[in-house]
Amino acid sequence: MSRVAVLKGGNSLERQVSLRSGARVEDALERLGHDVMPIDVGTDLVDRLKADPPDAAFVALHGRDGEDGTVQELLEILGIPYTGSGILACIRSMDKVLTKHLLLDAGIPTPEFFAFNETAFRELGAAEALPAIEERLDFPIVVKPAGQGSALGIKFASSAEHVPAALVAAFSYDSKVVLERHVKGRDLAVSIIEGDGEVAALPIVEAVPREEDFYDFEARYEIGRTEFICPADLPETVAARAESLAVGAYRLLGCYGFGRVDLMLEEATGELFVLEVNSVPGLTETSLLPQAAEAAGISFDALVGRIVELSFERAGTPAA
């Protein structure tokens, strides 16, 4: 039995989701016989961890601070083993621009894109380049903040006149935004869990929105509004390629323990594209990774147990 701190909540816009992930993880850890120390992350985080150091920290934070390497940095300094990816992988995966450049360099397909920070528009006249971008990407264009983990701030510009407002919206979340070619097709998620020295892809989940014609923030975390099909009904070759691309992206970014890679299967071409890599995917009742694990016969408790074991393995400390 170990004493495990569950870091959750915090100040990110995904606070609510994180609280739900955290609560579920706590239940699982208790069932596994661990001594659980729930922490809603705030200004007293370091004090609390120093005053009563846990054997490990389960990072159940999503979005800013939790998923971008900040909390991981603190845990490294404090010498506390923690779950999931390390600092560098978090930085790489939280920044969609960095992720996409790395994917391109490695030959992993990702939708064509352009990225700008606010100063490019404010100071370098980037607005003049918009028509050329619009021509290259074709409409509709997806406009999204570079560093927002959820679907918040993601807009779908159907014509040139909608691009500026979409940019203004995306800049509400981050000083850097991505304009990306819209890939029309099927929405796939490949969850990944490590074990026995292997990086294994779990059965693919396809998200099919039930009512709306877009996959929005609301639908994403709600029971009954999006239908999840797991394993996704895909030809074997397509599934195998999606898995290999996902594992490739996961390895490329240097992720550890577990993660989730989101892809699109383009309807017109049958091509697969990696959209992003999540270093701390959601663990709520409706989250994709736990569903995928379940489909592979790994219970939520077993999943949580393995993620904690891996944190000890990396730290080189035996699980207590």
């Binding site: 990110s12 607005a127 993601i154 779908f156 500026p164 203004v168 609301e218 009954g224 989101d262 379940e294």
Partner: protein, 461 residues
Amino acid sequence: MAQGRSTSRDLERYAGLFAARTRVMKSSAMRDLMAVTARPEVISLAGGLPDTSTFPPDTFAAVTARIAAESCAKALQYGPTEGLLETRQCIQEVVAAEGIRLDADDLIVTTGGQQVIDLVTKALIDPGDVVVAEAPTYPGAVPVFSSYQASVVQIDVDSDGMRIDLLEETLDRLDAEGRRPKFIYTVPSFQNPSGVTMSLARRRRLVEVAHERELLVLEDNPYGLLRYEGEAQPTLRELDGGVYVLYLGTFSKILSPGIRLGWVAAPAPVLEKINLGKQAADLCTSTLSQLMVQAYFEQGHWRDYVDSLREIYRVRRDTMLDALAEFFPSEAGWTRPAGGLFIWVTLPDFIDTTDLLARALRDNVAFVPGEAAYLDGRGRSSMRLNFSASDEHAIREGIRRIGKVVREQVALYGTLTGKREPLQQAQREVAPPDAPLEEPEGGRVVQLPQRMRRHDRTGES
């Protein structure tokens, strides 16, 4: 290993058990954002909260001591579904101050005004039935209507309140479609969220329309006594005499929302159904709360407290209006409420106020995005600001921070479009703060948003 508490299987299991009505009971991105507004460092202009710190603790102590001494057992006991007679007598006193004469039998004491909206909807609405509401409407009414699977039709509001001409057009159209609305929901005075007040002419016409078409009107009047200037308007209930108007009142804004006490006055047959509905919902309203109101009213100072609130809130409203004029860009427009708790601001339509809230939260300030007040995706460029719950310093600072972010976005949009086009959507409040008001009930009101939902929200990531 413990038996797997499975996800997808659970998901399916529960999904199959949920009632159809839960499909429209949605949590939203906005609600998740609102969770972050509770941080202590955030100046929240988002709530609809009265300032309960103004209530004298001595009075509270005296009230509770008296209950303990004189009616302890009663306070701890169940009570009648319609409420204690003593409490209904206090309510008679409050509504009399609004010009309404009611018998104690005309009333049911409820668990806050919110329960009235729920009970009335429960009593009147079958799935698919039409409720007519204002556009924008009270955000808290939206989930109630949704949970009974009402089909909500919203009628635009301008500086004189709900557009009765549009209401009549809409009723004709619904009639032609064979759809008969069951009731019209309105907050005629200092409306939540827009702050505007329905003119006397429109009040009269609305009551006539209700009589002509035999439709019920649910008049929600939580703020009527919180008027900061101008003459009080008669309530719809007074004009109608209690035939088609159901009247909702509450102690929340004149005493305390924490005691959860509201009331409904309605024609006897409707009241009877509401009573049965309430029995099913919670048997009775808290006896303790009801006795607190009674003990408080017996001290005889409730009007003085309302007067003190009026003075505090008037100053806060003026502070917010001044700050808006100082810190918001010329592209923004807002209402000038003569009472109540809220100002409604409309920004250029390229600004989405839900996204703006995410940005504003980084500067530790919050408001309610306008989309919460519509069921049809409109309102995305508007916001509701509350001036009752923060002191003047916080109001000014909060408005300064929001203004800064709005200006940034306006400037960015100008840069992106290569021009700063004058936006016809936006007019600015032009009356200087000390100018005499031509329209005491609403001031000049910018158009409330007309834009339909754009299919520009997606994320396949």
